[in-house]
Symmetry: C2
Subunit: 328 residues, 2 copies
């Protein structure tokens, strides 16, 4: 089969597409014929040598999500049949024509979605739903902050907030992305360059001084601190990425006086059972929103896997609004 | 009635006992004839001018908890009758012979406890139960950290952990207090002077490298950071005090890689309903433990209110193991 591999660590020139052995499913797994996948920040960090794949994950083929068809069953307990259209999460290895994953990490592709569209769904919507709803307690009437609201996860978070009758406030580096996020349901937002502190004041204005109830922060560093400053009493800041920095001078005085929570979360290193739970929550809560047309995949671009280096370059340039999809 | 008042802010010399008008209950309240109360760190900070009472709370009479008898009903909806023995939480004003509080902030005193013993219960056990169990998710088999385990809240936390079949690791500044905490059910502990980082290594050893599931941190500052370092994946650090500092250089990298939570909490500033919920959870979960003899009040000393200045001095000297009770 064809697969993306990294020859060492470095810039996009270490990325190649070459022939690799087709994987064989073990107990508990299914094999998926991957039709499309998408590029994630973690793939780029792994390529640069800054995010080693967790133990047990495919080490040399990247790719964290997929859309395709069930190709081979490694077990009897699976509800899947060969040919079923599925999307899902992978520990790695999804940038290949075939991929083995636990059957519980697959979800049926909503009928209206193509493989291309479905490939833009898993990481973005499962991460956003898990962070905002399962962990952050987002619900009807909540005020949510979504930093980097033009990213794949951000565009999913903005849509989920609107679909759940919450209101979302977003940040982006460009007004153009904020404008596009508004079309997805963003209530208001602010462009932020190198001064994340502006976020707090803007959210105070937006909320009539109350602050926000939950934040999904993709950036970390001073952004996480600005989210905390912008919280209403009992607010929850869920940090899902650290692009802007891994250190934060935390005011415990603020944390106590407003009774705030800050939590870090990642999907990739979770146990098989925990990932299955996140997928099941997505199937229960989010798939019906796709079927009702209340949320939709946001595809920035579609490239053949042969152009994987261009996808890496686009992500590193910060260009995308939504997902960079790759297809065989 | 007699009451403790602070004449301005300063050292213990500003504390006086003098005659004050007896308060009158309004709708939703009961009046309690206070038989005993206890001194809290917040009373001492308020005296020093470092912790102004929240808006709506009694401004010039301190005291955050009480044991006594229902003296007068300000409403019909209350389940209480005049003469009922109750303990409970106050926004302030409990260092007086009479106190008006929402009826829902009272709980029946377990039959075996005297007023003196009951006065050592509310802040310690409601705070520890709310932090460790309600917010921290402490349960059977959990590993808990309790910093300052010889304090009122600490001794309650250690006992609650044992009663719930969890194991607790404590810190104290003295080996003598650790030894006394062991008699209450502390599994292990470490004396910590000015190097909180020792906590993390000690907890790693204690837990066979796994780390702890939940921490109740009364100290803040570097102690909160040491608790985070000592956590197992998905651990929760609940910060309930800031004696050691209000700032923490937070590693978001650690927060994400271990999926940790840090939360600040206080009881005093909560709404009437939220406090009623905390008291109700205490009645449901902790009162049966008192009745079964699985937890007990820890009274360091009992003084008449006329010696309130000596109680302040004892707290500031860091002497107590358990609660400093004051009685009329």
């Amino acid at each position: 089969m064809r697969a993306v591999v990294y020859d060492g660590a470095g810039d996009a020139s270490v990325v190649h597409v070459r022939d690799e052995p087709r994987p064989v499913p073990v107990a508990g797994q299914v094999r998926v014929r991957v039709r499309a996948s998408a590029l994630n920040r973690a793939d780029v960090l792994q390529r640069a040598g800054r995010y080693p794949p967790p133990a047990g994950a495919p080490q040399h083929i990247p790719g964290l999500e997929f859309a395709g068809e069930i190709d081979l069953l490694g077990c009897n307990e699976s509800p899947w049949r060969v040919g079923d259209r599925v999307l899902g999460l992978a520990d790695g290895g999804a940038h290949a024509e075939y991929l083995c994953v636990p059957w519980s990490h697959c979800a049926a592709i909503p009928a209206a979605l193509t493989f291309i569209e479905a490939a833009a769904v898993p990481e973005a919507f499962i991460t956003a739903h898990d962070a905002l709803v399962t962990q952050g307690g987002l619900g009807e009437g909540s005020r949510a902050i979504v930093t980097a609201c033009g990213s794949g996860v951000g565009t999913a978070g903005v849509q989920l907030a609107r679909a759940l009758r919450a209101v979302a406030f977003g940040t982006s580096r460009t007004a153009a992305k904020l404008e596009r996020a508004r079309a997805l349901g963003l209530d208001a937002g602010v462009t932020i360059g190198d001064d994340p502190a502006a976020l707090s004041a803007a959210v105070r204005d937006w909320s009539g001084g109350t602050g926000a109830d939950v934040a999904m922060d993709l950036l970390g560093g001073a952004y996480a601190g600005a989210c905390l400053q912008a919280m209403a009493p009992r607010g929850r800041v869920i940090v899902v990425g650290l692009l802007a920095g891994a250190e934060l001078p935390l005011s415990l005085g603020l944390l106590l006086s407003r009774r705030l929570t800050i939590r870090g979360t990642v999907l990739r290193s979770r146990s098989v059972t925990e990932k299955a739970n996140a997928v099941a929550a997505f199937v229960r809560d989010v798939v019906p929103l796709f079927e009702a047309g209340k949320v939709k995949p946001v595809v920035h671009s579609v490239r053949p896997f042969a152009e994987i280096r261009a996808a890496h370059a686009a992500m590193e340039a910060g260009e995308p609004f939504g997902k960079l999809v790759l297809a065989w």
